[in-house]
Amino acid sequence: MSFLSVANVRPALGLLGLFCAVIAAPWVTLLVMIILALRYRAWEVLVLGLLVDLLWFPGLSQGVFPLFTLAGLALVWGLAPLRREFLIEKEDLVY
């Protein structure tokens, strides 16, 4: 089994997102979240969104909203119909 096998992609993306949340530009983390949300029913998207906001969000009193948490929720639940429609997921193949 190759290190770059499909089974490793999801945890690798999750770890990459974790790393990017701390040191990379925010659009990189967002991109990882979008890729994860498009391909998997990934709880990691929610955790990444929460992590970005826990690290950088200055508080509701500053007049800003926790955008990444909201983006995570929107990606996970908003893209669910798209995933269901277009992606062949593992549970569809194994009976």
């Binding site: 701390v22 040191i23 029913r41 200055p58 500053q62 996970v76 549970e91």
Partner: protein, 266 residues
Amino acid sequence: MMSSYRRSDRKSLHRGLVAATLFVLVIFALDVLSGGGIRALARAGGSWVWSAGSQTASAIAGSRIAQSRQALLKENEELKEEVVRLTLRIAELGVLERENETLRAIAHVAESISGMTVPIVSSVRSSPYGTFMVGAGRGESVAVGDLVVASSGEGGGFVIGRVSEVSAHSSLVTQVFAPDVSTEAVAGDVPLVALGQGGGNARAQAPRAATISLGEAVLSPSFRGLPIGVVGSVSQDPSSAYQTVYIGLPLNLTALTFVYVIPFSR
């Protein structure tokens, strides 16, 4: 049979997502109720990861590992160790030299305004909200509203942000030019409202008749009248009654290692 299996499998996957969603909501609610306690914990972890990462990166950059690997393999083991040791030493000296330059620049500001020098303990470009962390908090008498000043090295300090959250030994700073943050400013004798664009840049509208010269310091009455940037360019549209003023910070935010915190609200 098959479809019932699929349904139950999907249900369990859905349950996972629902659980994760509830987890996120509970953590967020707990954070709000605890006055940012969970955020303080996350930031302590984040700044530790960032510090460890930046030390590792500078060690790799300082050594020759990032360069020609084949050339290194050809070298004698003893010679290689010596080279690595020396290059690491040079990298350390480089870091110290940069820190020294920053501190010397801050010393100019400290001569005129009392405050304290604190290290930056996070990435300055990672936040989607234009925030970053400094390594001083309640324990070091930092308070919400304090001004964060960086120096360009020529004596003048520029206000780059304001402390927006404080925990025990670290604080979150919101940049003056964070995206969509408005700040009252004055360029020469022209009053402006600078709208932050992120990355140390802002934009403002001024009446077309106003004379604003390039390189002019932009001061802010909201920040003790200290400078917050300089006029980078002015764009005029003949069909508009206004001219657009682009304001920038004359320093590289990502290269900053120390900043100066001035008490504001006390």
